[in-house]
Symmetry: C2
Subunit: 557 residues, 2 copies
């Protein structure tokens, strides 16, 4: 109709795209045969589109590599890392239940109401979504076998949520409207009943569950994604370490390019495959009533701890592995079922009633601020000693085998340098013993988590003994705000809606408040020890704004 | 045998006592007929002896009043305020059980296993010690009637401990070895069985319980004590306000010389005599599922809140009364018994199962860091509005009656100035409404508790809206250390024994750590608002070293 105008418009488009070096959304109007340009802006796109366009533009030399890196927003990158539910299909579908977005990405499969079913079906090649009231350590194999996990109860740090996020697995927790009947193998929600075997689709990023199989998108295997990440690596300045809790995790992370393990939590050996034996010994330790009983259980636990650590150091050969000393929520490991209690009573030579009473005595009103982390090591020094010995002996043995292990020992939940000093005495003694026995000059850094406000206030003292700090920003945020992450569901939505807080402080570091504690700790720590290594191992380490803040605050990784 | 030496010794004693102006412990030896003086130091004495000696020396003009004040150590003064177990008798007796020292002082009486028995026996003039597995709001009358309280479960901030300390009543909690059989009316411990009616003696300062009646000492009614306190008042510089939660408490505190109420907690109307009606309405509010239901319950609660506040303002006429907005541990008020649940179901027109489900939904993993304080006001603004209106209307009515009420509104558990701003909007609106309706120009200060670390870090912002700060040092210590006060029993004894900490930070402010937060808040707060009033309302306000620290930090009261 207006060939001349079309040509004119196309010419303007080209000029705009070359000027902005990006795809443009253009608004225009034609009035009385004249073309009016109204506005333009860089076009919105999905993660995949952003990746493809950025790589195309590099190939066409329209933009340089550094610009290409900035063209894929962190949220888009996250999208690329998880298979996701097709958003167009999701718009048309109606969720049958909503919960907390505990593990991002999408998943679909047949409902299994028990972990055993999940494991059996997965072996048969079926895709499974495990649906549970809540999960506990005995469910871990089922969780591992499942594509995704859906629970009726639990918060963002419930067992299901922690395990799923650790694995990068899709997970929705606290979907309170679900009524699950494990015996009848059904679940009911909003008048609708699902049978075991029915297919459902989860969007773990949004916390929504849908009936049936919605279309999915998976972009991770794209070779252009691999090329893009290579470019990113050339331009970054911060070190990258992974959180990994098993030798398998360590291997995966290394394949993904991690330069070390920033947080290795030994307690994950008490979940999942092969966990029965160490878990039994841990329970024995927890439920012991005398030092003798306890130390015996600790001795029995030692080989399992050593095996896990040694295999991980071996998998990460040549790279630093920061092993955090045990920080288990004790009461979670108390056997609840009668069978487990009987077994434990037999093992310890006491009555079931005794076991129940000892279990009840471990109950804490506020477990987040209870008997955990280094506090266990202060009351049970032999527990620290066993772990330190396992780490140092592993390193000595690997060195003998010609490997280059780089262990680092990290003490959790500290609030005073005395806690570090007391544990350091054990460390120094065991180090000397292992060096003497093995004839190997092993080296091992000694440092601490900084996750308690008081540790930030006294970071100058902490750094007298600690050779490195690693900010546990999850706990620091909990204590700094007085927000229990498990319980914020009751008020955080209102806080965000009424703009009391600009964002969920567990997603992105609260720079003006908690950030002060971090900066204070960095400054005070480096004043005492100028070469103090400082990293972050909270989940906010995966948030772009938090990463920027950490970089500015002077963190190393 | 050596009259000359005796005379020489007596002369030296006199010189030493006149030199040191205090009673001396003197060590000497006689060898080969010669007197050798080895050492001397000021003699130790009980609180009563210290008081008598100080007052004697003032009368004899040996020391001045200011010196006399320093002669009675704060711990000795504390000893004078509570009837106590005679320490000589206690040394010879053997405790049948130990627990946590939740309420200081001594108590003795006949064991009562139910609150009803305690009340009945007290009416008959018997002295009663209430023994319970743990206490709940329904036990308050029994607790009031009892001389002392002993529970098998619960920590330092359990219901029993809080109520007892509030009343200055002797209390031991968490005596886990007690096996109480309420039906058989017996308790067994270490093979020994006690019947209801048996006499026991409690030392609440040490957490020890003894069979039978041990001798007691009571020094409070000593007129010399009254004279001494008058002297003390003439020399002090800090203001003194009391914590009081009922009009009766306020009257007592005023009689003891308090210059105001620093912390009035309205939630104490839900415990004890006459609590049934307001408690029922509070429960209705907590268990409401719609805003309409909730606001109706709040309206029903309003007259009770107003009555309590008005009577307190009246009792403290002319003195400031700081009313803290509600900070109730919601889940504690959920009715547990079936009868209570049925009543509530009927009142709300729902099923008992609904009530149970709503109750379960209120369960929190870490209630200390959960949905409490101002967070309730952010999610339920009408709850704040009702309380603010009750305070301001009470003040207006009292002014009309020719009184001089001085209310101050304090917002608890704040971590952001936005919380204060949102609540202040309600305050300003209600103030204008009440002024207009009453035609009275009432005045009311608006301030905040500072008990969350983030509030200290951002005190400059908090002071933009808050006209006063009051440090809640209990919670600030909990969050700053990551120590749950209810759960520290498992590790604090080891922390003190191994000198990780020099003292229990809940007894005396941790000056080097938490003290930094306090000083930071004082400095930042006064930078924004130079005339900011600052006080303390944690329990450490009763600790001498903490009082000294607060004075140096620039607090007003």
């Amino acid at each position: 109709q207006y060939p001349a105008l079309y040509k004119e418009l196309d010419g303007i488009r080209l000029r705009l795209e070359q000027h902005y070096k990006d795809m443009q959304d253009i608004e225009f109007t034609i009035q009385e045969g004249k073309l009016y340009m109204l506005q333009c802006r860089s076009g919105k796109r999905t993660g995949t589109a952003a990746l493809n366009m950025a790589m195309d533009m590099v190939a066409e030399k329209l933009i340089d590599e550094k610009t290409a890196v900035t063209r894929v927003a962190p949220a888009q990158l996250d999208e690329l890392l998880h298979p996701i539910v097709d958003s167009n299909a999701e718009k048309k579908a109606e969720a049958f239940v909503s919960g907390l977005p505990a593990g991002p990405g999408g998943a679909q499969g047949q409902i299994a109401f028990t972990s055993q079913t999940a494991v059996d079906w997965a072996k048969q090649g079926k895709k499974v979504v495990l649906v549970r009231e809540e999960t506990n350590p005995e469910d871990v194999e089922g969780m591992r076998a499942a594509e995704g996990i859906l629970t009726a109860r639990g918060g963002m740090t419930s067992h299901a949520a922690l395990v799923a996020r650790g694995w990068g697995k899709c997970c929705i927790v606290g979907a309170g409207e679900l009524k699950i009947n494990v015996h009848a193998k059904t679940m009911t929600v909003g008048g609708k009943t699902f049978q075991e075997g029915d297919v459902v689709t989860l969007n773990g990023t949004r916390g929504k569950a849908y009936a049936g199989a919605l279309p999915m998108i998976d972009a991770t295997e794209n070779p252009r994604f691999q090329d893009f990440m290579k470019i990113v690596d050339q331009h970054r300045k911060l070190g990258v370490r992974t959180n990994a809790d098993t030798p398998e995790d360590a291997r995966v992370a290394r394949a993904f390019g991690a330069e070390g393990i920033g947080l290795f939590r030994t307690e994950h050996m008490f979940y999942g495959k092969g966990a029965e034996e160490p878990l039994f010994r841990l329970r024995k330790m927890i439920l012991s009533s005398t030092t003798e009983e306890r130390n015996k259980a600790i001795d029995e636990l030692a080989p399992f701890v050593k095996q896990s650590i040694k295999a991980t150091l071996e998998a990460m050969d040549g790279c630093p592995v920061t092993v955090r000393l045990l920080d288990p929520p004790l009461h979670e490991f108390v056997p609840q079922g009668e069978a487990g209690q009987q077994e434990m009573a037999k093992a310890l030579g006491v009555t079931v009633a005794d076991i129940q009473k000892r279990g009840a005595a471990l109950h804490e009103t506020n477990p987040m601020m209870g008997h955990r982390g280094v506090r266990l090591g202060i009351t049970y020094p032999y527990l620290s000693e066993m772990q330190i010995r396992a780490i140092l002996e592993s390193a000595a043995e690997l060195k003998k085998e010609g490997k280059n292990p780089k262990p680092e020992i990290m003490v959790p939940v500290t609030c005073s340098v005395k806690e570090l000093d007391i544990t350091k005495e054990i460390f120094d003694r065991v180090l000397a013993e292992v060096r003497k026995a093995s004839g190997i000059q092993i080296e091992c850094l000694y440092g601490t988590m900084i996750e308690i406000p008081r540790a930030c206030l006294l970071a100058n003292e902490m750094a007298r003994t600690a050779e490195f700090f690693s900010f546990g920003t999850n706990d620091l945020t909990q204590m700094g705000f007085g927000f229990s992450r498990d319980d914020i569901g009751a008020f955080l939505p209102d806080y965000l809606a009424k703009k009391v807080l600009p964002a969920d402080p567990f997603q992105t570091i609260d720079q003006e408040g908690i950030g002060q504690l971090i900066q204070m700790a960095v400054e005070k720590g480096r004043k005492t020890r100028s070469n103090l290594k400082i990293g972050i191992c909270g989940e906010q380490g995966g948030d772009p704004a938090s990463v920027e803040f950490c970089f500015k605050a002077g963190l190393n990784y």
